[in-house]
Structures are given as structure tokens and as C-alpha cells.
Symmetry: C2
Subunit: 195 residues, 2 copies
DNA sequence: GTCTATAATTCGATAGAC
DNA sequence: GTCTATCGAATTATAGAC
């Protein structure tokens, strides 16, 4: 079958995203990706040069975070959690980075840069003190990524069968606190406030 | 150099743990593990049969969770967070499973079984309703593993430079709420309580 | 207990015909 | 634009000598 250049490239990229998301960088082979795209492995090299470049193309995406200016200030946590749950199931973008970033340095760096460029500004806007954007974004990331890890990757039984609403109900207040809550007193250590 | 059987086996196992923790299951090669142990690769096969069995031996460990009966009820969250931060840096056990469980089914299953066998009972004891042990343990796991992922594996800058006390101050109340707090109302969906 | 030699795969990448 | 053929490297695993 003969296709146009752009068609072929798009078909390869779609297959690559699925494979990288399902198997991670190492186990996703160019041969398997080519087979999924019903094309010869040599075509993958022709269009993307090498495996690393193919991954870079497959791992490019936008978190598409909501504009917090349109969210009431006490619903920020719930809005963020809801958005990520939907975003996670809409396509495999985040799964690609999670499955590969744990062992591959390039993927980890990509994940860091995405959160710095896209999540930190939103956290800075939500924070009572804009300079805390980095710290608050990182805290939110721990809970968001941890939930994704346990629900979608490790498939912990209670989480896999939990409804979105339940997850929002549990995690919403946590994210709300990380993004907008009072900063914990650091001295004396081990002390915490729970507003 | 000639060593006793138990010495050799222990040396191989130590090297395997380090390699699996640093590189994950796929990238940790038997050749590299053997080189670290200053021994021939064939010896690894001789003592452990195959790579999967070697990994199973290297991934066996105890969370050594504290006895919550000795912790005041309002300090349970802080105690759990403190314990895991220490446990995580003491040896590579959890890192081994995290780096491999994302792509390897056997490692993921091991992680599920460890949390079921070791974390669920503790959560059941902390919960106001013992039957909620599974759900509460899973929620706590999302925050604990998410923190480990972002701090130790992905190395998000703000988290990597945060002190243990700061992390305990931020995450302690979250874990306290997941393990002991009031259950969120599930209807109407999207609604959350924050006691 | 230790090592050499090698089998059997698998993978990324290249060269070149059509 | 597509594919065949193949190279070179790396890996797990086995057989057997010392």
C-alpha cells in the first residue's frame, strides 16, 4: 500500500505512542512499532532518524491545564484532579513519560521540563505567595503522579475500581492544600498544621 | 580469588540490588552485575538459574512499618511519612521495585503483594472502620510512592532539595487524613469534605 | 568454585534496489 | 515511497574444561 509522506509519518507516530505508552522506551522496539503501522522498519528510520528522535516526537504534548481564573478559589484542587484524570485517559501522553522516565534520562528530563513550564505557572497563580510556585507545583505533582502510578500502571485493586468522583473527593482537598493552603511551620521539625 | 559458596552468592545479590535499583530490570545486565561482584557472569547463572529468579531474590524485602499502637493517634501520618523517608534512603529495596514495576509485570505484582500484605493491615488498624484498610492503604500508597518518584527518581529540583522535616510537615497531614480522616461523601459526585 | 567458548536471539541501524 | 538484505553489537543462557 502506498500512502502520502504525511500519512505515513502520522501512522508511525501513532503506533509509536501506543507502544511507548504500553511497554516503555526499552521494550518498545522499532520493529514492533513498524508492524503496528503496517510498514517496514526501515521507514521508521527514514522518517525519524533514530529511536531517540522517534521517542522525542512521541513524547511531545501539552498538559492543557485549565485557566484557574475561571475556577472559584475553593474548587481549585478538585478542578486540577478532575482535569488530570480526564487528561490521563484521553490519550497516552503522560503514560509515555511515566513508563520511560523511570529509567531513561531523556524522558525524565522531558517530564521535569513539562512540569516546570506548564504546572509551575499555574501553581504560582494559585499560591498565596507567587514565589512558592515551584515548591507547590512539585508537591501537587507528587500526589498527581502517585495516583496515576498506582491506578493506571501498578493497578492497585482498590484504586483501579474507584470512581473518578471518589478520587476527586479524596485527592481534591490534598491538592487544594498543596496549592493554596498555609505553609507548614518548619521549626520545630515534624510539626504540621492542618487547616 | 576463591570464596565460599555463601560469600559468592551474597556478593552477587548485593551487586544485583544496586544494579536493579539504578537501572531497572531491563538495563541491569547480568554481565554488569557480575563485573560489580568481581566474578564471571556464568556464576550468576549457576547460583540463581536465570535473570528473573535473580530479580525475585533481589526484590524481596520487608517494609518494617512501625507499630502504630505505640504512636499517638494524631501523629500517625507524620510517623508513616518519616518512616518511609528513612526506609527509602537506608537501602534500595523500594527503588528496585519502582524502577522495574513500571514496565515489568512480575515486579508490579510483587509491589502489589507487598502493599497488600504489609501496608493494608497497618491501615486497617489506623482506620476508624477496619474494613476500609484496603482503600486507605491504597490512598496512602499514592502519596508515598508519588513523593518517592518525584524526589528520588525524577529528581524534581524543589523536592530533591527539601528537608525531611519539610516533607513530613507537608505530607504528614495528608497521610493522616487518608488513614484516619472522615470518609468523603460520594454523592453528589465531585463534592468533598475537609475536616 | 571459576572461567572459556559459544550457541541462539534480538535489536538498532545502513546500503541500496525497485 | 517501499522493501530486501544484512551488518555489528549486545544479551541471556548452556556446555564443559580446569
Amino acid at each position: 500500500m502506498r500512502r502520502s509522506s504525511t500519512e505515513t509519518k502520522a501512522a508511525i507516530l501513532d503506533a509509536a505512542k501506543l507502544r511507548f505508552a504500553a511497554d516503555g522506551y526499552d521494550r518498545a522496539t522499532i520493529r514492533a512499532i513498524a508492524a503496528d503501522a503496517s510498514i517496514d522498519p526501515a521507514m521508521v528510520m527514514r522518517y525519524f532518524g533514530n529511536k531517540a528522535s522517534l521517542f522525542a516526537a512521541a513524547a511531545e504534548f501539552d498538559l492543557e491545564l485549565p485557566d484557574l481564573a475561571e475556577v472559584s478559589s475553593d474548587q481549585i484542587g478538585a478542578a486540577i484532579v478532575t482535569h488530570f484524570l480526564e487528561r490521563w485517559e484521553r490519550d497516552d501522553s503522560l503514560l509515555i513519560l511515566l513508563r520511560s522516565g523511570v529509567t531513561d534520562d531523556a524522558a525524565a528530563e522531558r517530564m521535569r521540563s513539562i512540569f516546570t513550564a506548564q504546572l509551575v505557572p499555574v501553581a504560582a497563580m494559585a499560591s498565596p505567595e507567587p514565589t512558592q510556585g515551584m515548591t507547590r507545583a512539585a508537591l501537587a505533582a507528587t500526589q498527581i503522579l502517585g495516583m496515576a502510578l498506582c491506578r493506571f500502571v501498578l493497578a492497585f485493586p482498590p484504586l483501579a475500581s474507584m470512581s473518578r468522583a471518589q478520587i476527586v473527593a479524596w485527592l481534591g482537598p490534598t491538592i487544594q492544600h498543596y496549592l493554596t493552603g498555609g505553609e507548614p511551620i518548619t521549626s520545630p521539625p515534624g510539626q504540621a498544621d492542618d487547616p
